[in-house]
Structures are given as C-alpha cells and as structure tokens.
C-alpha cells in the first residue's frame, strides 16, 4: 500500500527534459526577440539607420571652383579670385551662447555683449548661420584654428570649438585697381558678374559648385573622399594692353582736368583687326571698393551712352559724296555767304570759308559745304551710308548693355533732317560706333567688328577659337584714301592742328556739339561735347584714337582745343610703344601754328524744340534765345536772331539754325 506522505519518486528524465525545454524556450524567446528587433531595425527602420550611420561617418563638403581670371593681351592678370574663409557660428550647437560669445570675442577682439545678443537671437530663431569674420586667408584661419582649440569640443571639423565652423568662399581682386575698370567691370559676393567683361562673360568665368563626400573616422580624419568632377571655369584674355590703357587713362585724366570737363572718354582701336587696345572713361572707379560714391561713375559711356557728336559725323557725309563720285578732294565748293536755308531753317558757318576745295571745307569744318554735299548725295544714299557705317545698330563688342544709338527711320525725317545729320545733329551715336566708322576709313573701307576679347582659354586647356570678326566693305579703297587725305588736311591746316604728331603723320576730325538738355527740352548752349577722332600714321593707320570730352569749361572748349591735344599725347605715346616706324621728320623745334582756327561751336542756332516739336513737324521752333526767352515757344521761322549781350559776341559771325529733333543726349541702358 502506498504511503500518501511519501513523496512521489521524481522522473529525473522528465525534470531534465522540462528544464532543458525551459532553457531552450528562454533562448528561443531571447533570440527570437533579438531577431524581431533586428528585422524591425533592418527592414522597417533601414533608411533612417543608414542615414544616421552615414551622418556619423560622412559629411558633404560644398565648394565653388575659383572664378576664371581675366588677363590683358600680354597675360597680365586684371581680375583674379582667391580662396578665403568665413568663420560662422551655428548657435543651435552652442549650449551656452554667452560663454561662447565671451570666448569668441576674446580671440577676435569683438564686442562680447553684442555678439552674445546676436547669437542668442539667432538661436531663438533657429538660425544656423551667423557669419562672424569674412574673407580670411589660409594663414589667418590656421592661426584661429589654434586659438579656438577647445578640449571639450566634440566635432570632427576645425575649429575645435562647439558651434564654430568654416565656410569656403572666394574673393575677387583687381590688382591694377582702377585701370580698365570700365572694361573689366566687377562681380558681387555671389560670384556673379555685375558689370563689364565680368558680366558679359559670366557664363565662362563662373565657377561650378563641386561637392565632395568625405568619410571620417572617429577622430574626424578623412579617410575617403569622393569628389564630383566638374569643368573648370575658363580664363578670358582681352585685347586690352594694360600699359597702353594706363597711358590713355593718364592722358585722359590730365585732359579732363585741364579742360575742367565733367567727364571724358577715350577709345583706341586697331583698325585692321578691330581690336580695342584701350578704352577709358574718366572719372573712373576702383572695382575693389565699390561704394555709393563711386557708383555714379560705373557706366561705360563709350558703349552705353549715345551722343550727337557734331562735326566728326561729317566723315559720313563726305564718304557718301566720295562714294557716289560726286567730287574729288581737290574740287572746289562754294560756301556762299556762309548761310544756307533748308526747309525754312538757316544753317550758318562759324566762319566764312568762301570758295574752297572739299579738303579745305572739311579742314575748316564748314557746315554749309557739308550740308551742300549731303543734299547732293540725297536722302536715300545718305541714309544707306549711315546704316552701312554701322550707326543705329550695336557694334557687337563683348561688353554688356551696349546701346545702338538713335538713328531716326528714314520715313520719319523732317525737311531739314538731312542737313542736320550732315553736320552731326539729329543722330545719336556711341563713341565706339564713331571710332569704328573712322577705323573703317583707316582700313581701306573695310569695317571690322570691334572686339575686346582675344581668346577664351579653359584652365589647363587649349584656347577656344573665337569666331572671326565679320568684315564688310563699306566704301571703296579709293574713297578711303581720298578721305584720309582730306582728314590729313584737318590736322595740317584745319581745326585739328593741335593733333599734329612729331615723327608721324596724323589724320582726323574735330567735333563740337551742344548738348541737349532733357529738362528744358532744348539745346544748352553752355554745354559742349568736344571730340577729336583721328588715326596715325595717316597713310597706313595703325591706331584710331577717339577722345571725347563732356562739358569742358576751360578755354575755347571746342574739339580742336580740348580733345585734339589729348589725342596727340595718346597717339604719340602709343605709336612709340607699339614701335610703329615714323613716317614724318622728327622736329626738335617748337612750332606755333600760324593761324589758329578753332572750331567754334554753333552758338544756339539749333532751334529749341518744344515736346510737341520733338514728335512732329509744323510746330513752333525757337532760335537763338536767352534762357528766359526759351521758356516761351514762338515761331521764329527765318527770323533775324535777337542776341543777348552775352551771346552777341559769339553769335555775330556764326549763327546758324539747326532743327534739333529732340533726340536725348544719352541713352543709358
């Protein structure tokens, strides 16, 4: 019989089995739990974990390639970029902005309180970029890395200071400062060209953004780097020669100061290739320091402004006459009594020339002879010549914001438009267009498109072949030769005597035009545009030089007095520098020209037009008047001009009435 108190005999196998199964179950659950967790992490949270792991190990570094360099024709750098660094703070990474500000301010010698406020505000606004110091070069940044070395900083990159980082930047520098500033232009902080070549060639010069994927170890050392390859920006080589440019700028500056002019423009061009050797504006600016003060002088008036340049435009008038074979330079033409009436308007010469050869008529800048020539040419042929010479259309030079000037369409000409245009009014041209027209005559009638870029070279590559500048035969070589002979007389015996060179022959034309006053809608007889455009050596010109002075106030103020001496100084230096062989004797003695024939400006003979008159014909026109008289429009057709005492002296011998069709003086874009 079984004793109930006696414990049952345990089945040890069963116990062992149960225990074993418990252990197995435990392990199964344990491993199962781990497996489930692993599956969960690796399947459902795969992307997040991967991103986190990569974040801990890798970082993406963005850097912009250095902007391309601009060189002159002799490989002198005119604009170049440098690597600089910006130290910035990420306040969200700073535990205590006040303490951080104290430390940063101590190293950089900044105002700690101000910096602390700035960081605190940025932290509250969750801003992650607070620039502290900009444009630091490598040497300074390395010194700052050492200064900011903090032991408790847990970050892979330098500086070892929580919340402080470096950003790679670049800084544009213009080593020659104001030299060729209007040609080079400048770029902004974002590496975008704003003016000049910097703007027109921005696509070529602009550096691409390159990204590099860096993998770092736990000490922050980069052990693997993957850099995206991008094409490096190209360098631009200009036709400008910095030495010539400097000479031209110096001469222009001197000329502007001597004439007390508002501004001046000078263009030097190689007529055979169309290359611009120098292009200067004064006042100028330093592209390294653009301020609100200098911003008034940023416009490149040689291409961005259009002017009525007066008598220099007679080149086109005589070109069209010679091209039609209406006369030869030695043929005679009569200026009559010094006045001519065209469409009820009287045009007058500043000084009577009587009956002279065409050469002498141009030399003495006779308006009557020019108008007679234009009338004999006819409107159609004259308009065609204006167009062929390139007026009214852009020259195509590689500079931004070039204006085409203003040439009124043929069907909108008034009765006296032809006469006005024959002497350089009613038409607005850019200094470059006018230089190009003279270059056409210098180049035996072949117009070569002006260009300022010699070549574009990719970094470490071969220069890109630029398309050849278009060439057009505008006038025959014979016409060009005759015109050069006539222009030579201007310098030898005419209004351009002050342009005579030593050792070289020169040819050119003076121009003096009154400026249009946009406010009063009339010609301002107190403001001139004084011009001289010439070429040398006269028979086979190597250079064409244009000098334009805006509002000269000293002296006679006409082109022959103000601009011709600047031309002489520029041409004399440049021909010597370019090693052009002399073609005339070098004189040591000083010579005073026997007779000065300054090209007197037309004294307020241009009718002051009312706004209505500007838009059409049959409107009252004003003539020679005092400013007070100008206010009241009245019909003064064929009137004998009343002269104020102030004007009477000037207008005694030279009144002429030119209908100015109200084309604005400048056309800035």
């Amino acid at each position: 019989m079984n004793n109930p108190r006696r414990p049952k005999k345990r089945n040890m196998k069963q116990v062992a089995y149960t225990r074993f199964m418990l252990v197995v179950a435990f392990f199964v659950l344990w491993i199962g739990g781990i497996s489930v967790r692993l599956v969960h992490l690796q399947v459902t949270q795969h992307a997040w974990l991967r991103e986190r792991a990569e974040d801990a190990r890798t970082n993406i570094n963005q850097k912009r390639m250095l902007r391309g360099t601009i060189y002159d024709r002799n490989n002198r750098a005119l604009a170049m970029s440098q690597r600089v660094k910006t130290l910035y703070a990420d306040p969200t990474e700073m535990a205590d902005t006040n303490a951080a500000a104290q430390s940063i301010a101590k190293v950089l010698k900044l105002d700690a309180a101000q910096l602390a406020t700035q960081l605190q505000q940025a932290k509250e606004a969750k801003k992650r970029f607070v620039p502290i110091v900009k444009d630091l070069d490598a040497e300074v940044s390395q010194r700052l890395d050492k200064a900011f070395d903090s032991a408790d900083a847990r970050k892979p990159d330098l500086p070892k200071f929580n919340g402080l980082h470096w950003q790679d930047d670049q800084k544009r520098s213009y080593p020659l400062q104001s030299i060729a500033a209007h040609v080079i232009g400048f770029s902004n902080d974002k590496d975008e060209g704003v003016a000049g070549i910097e703007r027109s060639q921005d696509e070529v010069l602009h550096g691409a953004l390159i990204k590099s994927l860096q993998e770092r170890d736990r000490l922050g050392r980069v052990y693997d780097e993957e850099v995206a390859e991008r094409e490096a920006p190209s360098d631009v080589y200009l036709t400008i020669d910095y030495a010539l440019q400097y000479m031209v700028e110096q001469s222009l500056e001197k000329g502007v100061h001597e004439a007390d002019a508002k501004s001046g423009i000078a263009v030097v061009m190689n007529p055979k290739t169309g290359e611009i050797l120098a292009l200067a504006n004064y006042p100028t600016f330093d592209p390294n320091t653009i301020t609100s003060k200098t911003s008034a002088h940023l416009a490149n008036n040689a291409v961005q402004s259009a002017y009525s340049l007066g008598s220099v435009f007679k080149l086109v008038t005589y070109s069209s006459g010679l091209e039609k074979k209406l006369f030869n330079p030695n043929d005679m033409i009569s200026a009559g009594n010094g006045t001519i009436e065209v469409a009820d308007h009287i045009f007058t010469d500043s000084h009577g020339v009587g009956t002279v050869s065409y050469s002498q008529a141009l030399a003495h800048s006779s308006n009557i002879c020019a108008i007679k020539t234009a009338l004999s040419v006819g409107k159609e042929d004259f308009a065609a010549m204006v167009q062929k010479m390139g007026f009214g259309s852009k020259t195509g030079i590689e500079l931004p914001a070039e204006t085409a000037g203003r040439v009124r369409p043929r069907d909108k000409w008034n009765g006296d438009s032809l006469a006005s245009m024959a002497i350089g009014y009613e038409i607005d041209v850019t200094p470059l267009q006018m230089t190009s027209a003279f270059a056409t005559i210098a180049n035996n009638g072949i117009r070569v498109q002006p260009r300022i870029i010699k070549e574009i070279k990719p970094a470490g590559g071969e220069a890109k072949q630029l398309p050849q500048a278009p060439q057009t035969q505008v006038v025959t070589p014979e016409t060009s030769r005759n015109l050069r002979t006539m222009l030579k007389q201007v310098v030898l015996t005419g209004t351009g005597k002050r342009a005579q060179l030593n050792g070289y022959t020169a040819a050119g034309k003076t121009g003096t035009a009154w400026k249009y006053n946009a406010k009063s809608k009339s010609i301002d007889s107190s403001k001139y545009m004084s011009t001289f455009i010439g070429m040398a050596p006269a028979d086979d010109p190597e250079i064409v030089v244009a000098v334009i002075m805006d509002e000269p106030k000293n002296g006679a103020r006409d082109g022959g007095m103000v601009s011709a001496p600047v031309f002489r100084e520029i041409a004399q230096q440049l021909l010597h520098e370019l090693k052009v062989p002399t073609d005339a004797p070098i004189k040591q003695e000083r010579l005073v020209a026997e007779e000065d024939i300054p090209e007197l400006p037309v004294k307020d003979t241009v009718a002051k037009k009312t706004p209505e008159a500007r838009s059409g014909a049959g409107v009252p026109k004003k003539t020679d008047q005092t400013p007070s008289e100008r206010e009241k429009p009245k019909d003064v057709k064929k009137s004998k001009d009343k002269k104020t005492p102030e004007n009477s002296r000037l207008t005694a011998k030279m009144f002429r009435r030119i209908e100015f069709r109200g084309i604005d003086r400048t056309d800035r874009t």
């Binding site: 170049m80 050392r221 052990y223 002979t485 002050r498 005339a584 004189k587």
Partner: protein, 160 residues
C-alpha cells in the same frame, strides 16, 4: 581456420594517427589561411584608410598651395601695378618727371609736302624712367591753355 591479422590494429592505429595529423594539419592550415586572410584584409583595409587619409591630406595641401600660389600671383600683380610702382619710386626718393616739351610738326599743306627728310635726331620723346629729370625747361606752347587768359580766349573768339 580463422586467420587473424595481428598487425591490423597497429596499422589502423597508425592510419588513424596519420589521418588525425592530416586533419589537424588541414585545420591548422585553414586556420592559418583564414587568419592570414583576415590579417591581409585588415592590412589592406588599414592601408586603404591610411592612403585615403594621405590622399585627403595631399588634396588639402594642393588646395593650400594653390591658394598660396594665387595669393602670391595677386601680390606680384599688385606690386607691379603702376600705382604701387609710383609709391615705391616715391619712397625711394624719385619724383615725377617734369613733362618734356611737346614738339609739334610743322604745319604744311599736303600739296606742298615733299618727301620727309631723314630724322636729325633719334632722341626719344617719351621719358620712360621716373628717375630721369628733364634737362630742358618745359617750353610753353602757344596752345597751352594756362598761357591764354580768359580774356585772350574771348578775344580770339570774337575775331572769328
């Protein structure tokens, strides 16, 4: 009669020890191969990391050298700019040359112009060195505006 091979157990023992030895040797070899493989892979890995670090350092160095090159180029260009040369010349005690007298060509009509005579002097007109002082006193030309007073100019104008 049952023939017993007395030597078989001994031989079997021998065989088994050889097998065992072979097995151990194979295991050892495999272990060694595996270990050396791991070792080799580790060496490769660390070497690759080392090269990566060196590469990164070299890249950085190239950047620094390029930055330095461009800094030096800029410094060279700045120092060679006309304004800096002027400053340096002034520091060295040189001064702006007095403008040389301007020579003008005799005005002559084209019709009367003959073949130009050969140059009598090869003296250059342009004084290029800042340190050269002009020997001659500047000649005041008739065209010089400073000589012409406003009155004279007005007179000239009124007579034309």
């Amino acid at each position: 009669m049952i023939k017993r091979n007395e030597t078989q157990p001994l031989s079997a023992k021998r065989v088994s020890s050889t097998k065992r030895f072979t097995t151990y040797a194979l295991i050892l070899a495999s272990t060694l191969t595996l270990a050396s493989g791991f070792f080799f892979a580790a060496t490769q890995h660390f070497s690759s990391m080392d090269y990566g670090m060196k590469n990164s350092r070299l890249r950085k160095q190239i950047e620094q050298l390029e930055a330095e090159k461009s800094r030096l180029m800029l410094a060279k260009e700045v120092s060679m700019s006309p304004n800096e040369i002027k400053k340096a010349a002034k520091k060295a005690g040189l001064f702006d040359p007095i403008p040389a007298p301007v020579m003008t060509q005799t005005a002559e009509l084209v019709q009367t112009k003959t073949v130009p005579a050969s140059s009598k002097s090869d003296q250059p007109l342009i004084v290029k060195t800042a340190s050269v002082t002009t020997a001659a006193k500047p000649v005041t030309t008739a065209f010089n505006k400073s000589d012409k007073t406003g009155k004279e100019i007005k007179k000239t104008l009124s007579t034309e």
